[in-house]
Amino acid sequence: MKRLVQGNEAIFLGAIKAGANFFAGYPISPSSEILVLAAEYAARDPGFKFIQSEDELAAANAIIGASLAGAKSFTATSGPGFTLMQEAIGYGHQVEIPTVIVDVQRVGPATGMPTMPAQQDIVQTNYGSSGDYYPLVFYPNSVEECYRYAAAAFSAAEESLSPVIVLSDAFVGHLNEVVDIDAIEVEVVPRSRPPLGTGRRFFTGLAHDEEGKPRTADAMVYREWLSKVKARHKKVAARYSDLEFKENTSTDTLLISYGIVSRVIAPLASEFALFRPIRIFPMMGVELRECAQGYEKIVVIEANDGQYACLVERELKREVIQIPLLGGRINLDLARKGLSEKLERGLP
């Protein structure tokens, strides 16, 4: 049945569709609707477990514990909470724990501008924790996609054995759109690992060998482990190479945007070519290069000061024009103004 659904609600429903049965979280706008929905759901369904944690450190570690105990677990937060969760995200990669973290972004750093929308956690999803890791990150731009990619995140988490991030922002999270949730088909992957209480395993945040034995001074064991994990993530990422590309042969300029900004600049499709990564990390490589071919100018419009633009530049090995939409004001006029300043007047 078609009805009005909010972005945050769609994320919650997508998680439920994927079989999620554990949520831990700490209230933070603009993500709190997800926590409240989880609390309400747990009150109705005893099979769904809910913890309102004392802080985001506890929430992120609780979803790890729940995952080890056999649940499909997730949490939702925003910038400052996402920062506190970084240690658990690193742990999840070291111990290979499938779980899902939703980050509904707002303007930062720190408490910033609660709760104006931003896209300032782009780099943090990828480099926020210590060490090397290869996270899978989705960034939907509609209510339907919130549902679809929340569900996909759980599958990708099981396949990659890692914490998967779903990015959103205050606008996408609070967007209301008419959708028929039940008509959206998603693939559901079952739990991949037997729960605690069935073996004699040792799950450790120390570097370890295949048997879970700590190996803290053996470079070869570490390198083999990292390359195995890297290869697995690459393989899983290839299954979710979702993007949107609108070719335009009448222009020499490709606009790259994602999340809410891609919705805002959609009317520019008649003037420019548009590229939007949905699985935003691992970084699109071949796909991005192919789409960018034939366009002289590459412009990245995003609600941060060039976080994704720098990564695009590195990937394409060409200069990229940056149009940052900062301070929570994201609209078409600002995007047009930026384009005219940078493309027509050549301002830096």
Binding site: G70, P195, G197, G205
Partner: protein, 244 residues
């Protein structure tokens, strides 16, 4: 046999000769053996630090969490699998300092967890820095003129809620220690066992002890059993205070 609960193939352990953690592990294994706890019905969650390594030597599923995060992990495991006996083993620095916020809230929520705290009053693994339980004026590498503050009062922290279980014991008092662990495991709520133990290499020698044995004799001399029915343990008393 309690030895079946140990991964003997991973011995020798990482711990220094004379360390108290091995003795805590043996007593825990004995209690688990007595109560029929094994890999099918029990899991051990440990924190970072010397004590954290304990989970890796026990023949059950074990989790070596992030530093300070044993309790959020353990609470979630227990909530998802209520039939599982969840035992947390960690150090005083992990539980009372970096994990202090979780300890306070876990005690308040009173989940059915057993927590064994290896209280050696120092950060051993990192070389002997002062911790939250270091007695005032004790010299350590990070408090050369003596620790500046009074140690955290774990008993009062645990007893802040309406329901609580707090036991204090030492590694010297082996039977008492085993009894405290047994009672804690059987307790239907949050049970905290504060185990005074010795870190000879990174604390004891600096304090003038020549061996772990001397430290144990010091525990024997210093700690006395609390009188029957005591509602509060005095600073150098061992015993159990509880309210269900």
């Amino acid at each position: 046999m309690f030895k079946d609960l140990l991964k003997l193939e991973r011995f020798p352990t990482t711990w220094c000769p004379g360390c108290g953690i091995g003795q805590i592990m043996i007593q825990l294994a004995m209690v688990m053996d007595e109560l029929g706890l094994n890999y099918t019905n029990c899991t051990i969650i440990s924190g970072v630090g010397c004590t954290g390594r304990l989970a890796g030597y026990m023949n059950v599923d074990g989790v070596y969490t992030l530093h300070g995060r044993t309790l959020p992990v353990a609470e979630a495991v227990k909530l998802v699998t209520p039939s599982l006996k969840v035992i947390v083993v960690s150090g005083d620095g992990d539980l009372a300092s970096i994990g202090g916020n979780h300890l306070f809230h876990a005690a308040r929520r009173n989940p059915d967890l057993t927590v064994l705290c290896n209280n050696n009053q120092v950060y051993g693994l990192t070389g002997g820095q002062a911790g939250p339980t270091t007695p005032r004026d004790t010299p350590t590498v990070s408090s050369p003129a003596g620790a500046h503050y009074d140690p955290v009062n774990l008993q009062n922290l645990i007893k802040a809620g309406a329901k609580y279980f707090y036991a204090k014991t030492t590694v010297y008092h082996q039977l008492h220690l085993r009894n405290c662990v047994r009672e804690a495991v059987a307790w239907p709520g949050f049970a905290f066992v504060d185990i005074i133990s010795q870190c000879i290499e990174n604390n004891g020698r600096r304090l003038g002890f020549n061996s772990a044995y001397e430290m144990l004799l010091h525990f024997r001399k210093t700690y006395k059993r609390a009188p029957e029915g005591a509602e509060t343990l005095e600073p150098y008393e061992i015993g159990i205070v509880r309210q269900g």
